[in-house]
């Protein structure tokens, strides 16, 4: 235990830190790394890792049991159906819906609210750390999956790298949009997980698969069109070309071979990035004005 004199000397350690006003980049960076560490700690990322190992595992299984199956079909099923439809919303939901809520539930939010970090910045920085985490996990497992699908196949290395890079970019954009959306939902409701699952099932699952204008409000639609415009999903069987993406995604390439009824690639990117930005800004504005009630024992 220190005496008074020692305590006094300890408190004079860093007089300079007060002079920089209310905003502290050190604090923001620390919050960023803290959130990243939180995400990478515990069982959550292990569970997500196991889930994301599913596509590479399935790719290996398909190649082992059906060696004649076209790689493009396997890639399409895993990289552009399973991952964007199920895994990306799931990882975004798990990590982003609790950006603030988890800290509130764990009663650790107080430690952030009493630091020189504006409320909106707490949300934005934690969201950025969440985006880093999810994009990183998505990238790693997408690369693994492409390796499982194409390594040792007839496809050239350059082709594999190109297709994998496009898939990573599209997955990245989609997961960012999902995170920003679910982060916002997490600020609105304590039942963000249920709301997110319902949203994923109804909006992204059902509406996006209907050939109507409603799919224009879904994230997955823009991810699909972006993918469709960036790479081909055509394979040949019995002398006939099959466009697996057009058939599955209800894109009528016979009537509209140039996809004039659908947005351009740049539009898809702008819509996804723009929507993410809008969701993030709304979330930040909500946090800037909001009180966060942290439970205290016995309601004292």
């Amino acid at each position: 235990m220190k005496d008074v004199a020692t305590l006094e000397s300890s408190h004079s350690a860093s007089p300079g830190h007060r002079a920089t006003g209310g905003f502290s980049w050190i604090a923001l960076w620390t919050l960023y790394t803290l959130t990243f560490r939180q995400h990478m700690h515990g069982r959550r990322w292990i569970v997500m890792g196991v889930l994301f190992l599913l596509p590479p595992g399935l790719a290996v299984l398909i190649r082992a049991t059906a060696p004649d199956a076209p790689s493009i079909v396997t890639e399409f099923l895993l990289a552009f159906l399973l991952i964007p439809q199920a895994l990306l919303p799931l990882i975004a939901l798990v990590y982003a819906s609790g950006i603030i809520q988890d800290e509130q539930e764990d009663q650790t939010l107080t430690y952030l609210l009493i630091r020189p970090i504006p409320r909106w910045a707490i949300y934005v920085v934690k969201l950025l750390a969440t985006l880093t985490t999810t994009v990183l996990l998505t990238t790693i497992f997408t690369v693994l999956m492409y390796a499982a699908i194409y390594l040792g196949s007839e496809a050239s290395f350059n082709t594999i790298v190109r297709r994998c890079s496009i898939a990573i970019a599209i997955h990245g954009l989609a997961v960012v949009a999902y995170c920003c959306l679910f982060g916002l939902i997490g600020l609105y409701t304590k039942r963000a997980l249920i709301a997110g699952i319902l949203y994923t099932a109804v909006i992204e699952g059902l509406l996006a698969n209907l050939p109507f204008g409603l799919r224009f409000v879904t994230i997955i639609y823009y991810a699909r069109i972006g993918a469709y415009r960036s790479m081909d999903f055509i394979f040949t069987r019995n002398g006939r070309d099959h466009n697996v993406a057009a058939e599955t995604w209800q894109i009528d390439v016979k009537k509209d071979p140039e996809l004039l009824d659908h947005p351009q690639l740049l539009t898809c990117v702008i819509v996804l990035a723009g929507a993410s930005l809008v969701f993030a800004v709304i979330g930040a504005l909500m946090c800037a004005r909001r009180e966060f009630h942290v439970k205290t024992p016995e309601g004292s």
Partner: protein, 322 residues
Amino acid sequence: MHSELPREVAGSPEVKPVVEFHKVSKWYGNVIGVNKLSIRIPAGVTGLLGPNGAGKSTLLQLATGQLFPSQGSVRVLGQEVWNNTAMNRLIGLCPEQDAFYEWMTGWDFIYTCARLGGLPRADAKDAAARTLDAVGMFKHKDRSVRGYSKGMRQRTKLAQALVHDPEVLFLDEPFTGTDPVARRDLMEIIRKLGAEGKSVLVSSHVLHEVHTLTPNIILLNRGRLVAEGQVREIRDLIDKHPHHIVLVCDEYRKLAGRVLTWDDVEGVRVLNRDKGLMVETRSPDKFYSRLPQLSLEDGLSIKEVYSDDDNLEAVFKYLVNK
């Protein structure tokens, strides 16, 4: 009851208070957290007393800018605190909840809090080391917080409140669940902080704890200010209200008849099981002064005299149960 006691320091309008609540109310839906609260807390150590649900934590959350007042204004060091990020460099809070980033070590937690407070890396390391040492936790710094005892956790919470060298400290029930040694040590630390010139507002629901630290107290109940000022002044206030004094005596029924003849006795309750009486009086000093004579003249052997109001705990209970 709201007792406007003349505070020696805070009450003086010329002395700038460290913490000032002006007609502050805070509602959570239909529930009132604090109600039309106006207080001026001076520099130094001040105790914030009240039972669970009195509004102590709400007051501290308002004072640390975590909550926005539904009405009125809250100022710390002369500045509004809501959304005042710069203010967070000048204040420290030891929250009531026993919550940590459990996966961290004690060092990691305090160092992270120092960095969150905006300290550069080297300064944060120095501050973390010194603060952990100051609260007696340096030797446990590499252990996981998850494995800390309650006392160690309270010390660590205090360290995070101190690590950025705040001018004003808010400590929410810092002694809860601590063992006697930790309690003594924490009190010693708080006293030292006060001696250094820090302003400390300590909340507790145990009057004795606060009384040990400071004579300056604020009493809250159901979100309202019950009393504020020096303990002595509050004690004086209590003397205006009935005291309950227990007399233990074999001939307690005879004794009851005797004391009922005294004008200052407002009521007597027979305690058959304890062979005693509970006397209610508004003049405890006068009552006590008569007791020796009563024993001598009437031959009533009074075995024990004690008063629930004799200790500050009872005074507090009395006030908040009004």
